[in-house]
Symmetry: C2
Subunit: 294 residues, 2 copies
Amino acid sequence: MAPTPHSPGAGERRAGHLVIIGGNEDRDNDKRVLRRFVELTDRPDPKIVVLCAAAASGGPAWKVYDQAFADLGVQQRMALEMASREDANDPKAADRLLTADGIFIAGDDQKRLLAVIGGTLVHQALHKAFEQLGRCIAGTSAGAAALSQHMMHGGGAGVPAPGTAHSLAAGLGLLQRVVIDQHFSERQRLGRLLSVVAQNPTLIGVGIDEDTALVIERSGGGLEVVGDGAVTLIDGRQMSSNFLPGPEREALELVDVKLHLLPAGARYGSAAKAVPSALQDIVSILTSPGSPLS
Amino acid sequence: MAPTPHSPGAGERRAGHLVIIGGNEDRDNDKRVLRRFVELTDRPDPKIVVLCAAAASGGPAWKVYDQAFADLGVQQRMALEMASREDANDPKAADRLLTADGIFIAGDDQKRLLAVIGGTLVHQALHKAFEQLGRCIAGTSAGAAALSQHMMHGGGAGVPAPGTAHSLAAGLGLLQRVVIDQHFSERQRLGRLLSVVAQNPTLIGVGIDEDTALVIERSGGGLEVVGDGAVTLIDGRQMSSNFLPGPEREALELVDVKLHLLPAGARYGSAAKAVPSALQDIVSILTSPGSPLS
């Protein structure tokens, strides 16, 4: 069925661009990832708000990003620091978020980020800015992990011992049906991402290297990889696995997992390049807008 | 076509057991990997020969394995140290190898191992012991990497920069159509194994964790994983990739790689467990005897 003129079609994305950064992005030299984020605001003089709620003190992160965005020529820069849920339920904070052309979610601890803003006015404003106003949202490290509905938190790097499980928590929900892991190659996180996918085979595992971003584009529903490393996608939907809950769980066996390695510079689904058939399904999952919270 | 009575059938393996160890196997405590190797010699009082040719000095490795095999109750233990190709072309050394029930190839540097024994009488004796006499052969670390026809040597852990390639060298050739990498999880070697498979899509990538062995069984053509970690199989035969030789090579893109994670304790193709259909092809590749050198 052809889309009606005013509703989004299958390949069309109403929400803004999403820039999912694997942490430790360059802030001093070429700043490729941050530069792309600023470009994607699509404004000549964009206003960037840096959301500092994942760290106990937002000051140090703000100082770094204030300087980096200034170096990139951004005139309008603002920190949104919040220490408590009261701060995150302040209508002024939510309004400030809605004035941003680009929202940058700094890292540290995704559990803290969600504990402070989950379900608050600021969380609702984030959804509105992204889904209704089409603003560009970036998250780095913990801020990247938190973007999806199901969020990794804690756990070692490897495949867990039998009888244990990596647990998932409720994330910000700007993306559905994926689970995001950051510092991916640098912290040897394939094992843990595989085990999360084994336990949650409805989710696509997205592993993002440091100084690398997966960009999910607003229009045309394309993907882009920016920066220095690669994005690893783990698709376990057709795998067979011995994972079953219960105390007598065995060591994890996975057969027939699909893995895709997308390097920086790769683009799919935009005008630049056709989507390989094996990736079409995943591109369609990633570019489906999240269900609005509010 | 049905196999004739005296030729090996499709699922039957004439050669001995192969115990491919990812390095750093326990030698002090439970010694699960070494114990399984001793069991697989199928002798009540086995004679174990430790081939020390991958290190400039075989003494230290021999001391460790002499003690470990003694602890496991092995009475007949012998080192085969060799410092030069002259040593490896000594008919006495080759004869000594042929008297062993189990041959253990110690690690260090697979390039040195091949430089010393490649094409020599000792190399021929290794093939004869394995393929004609059905003796059990183990290799650890460099000794594991060297077992296959195509051998990894050197290179960093990650995906190489565009324009460079991980090179392969000629290994001992006891296994065909695979490339083996060791210390796999511990040294973050997925990236390099993926890039080797991208460049050599006819080879199945076999990544073996430390204190873990992939056992390729003599009879019945089964696989077994022993020890503490897991074996990761990378099958790129159906992938699409942008890898092409040439100076203008791009960063590596891989779409539709198959990954299998086999934990310690897993057995396939023996009486214990049926082979999952997605693994049948790989089990058949791994259990096909290598082509004899001599």
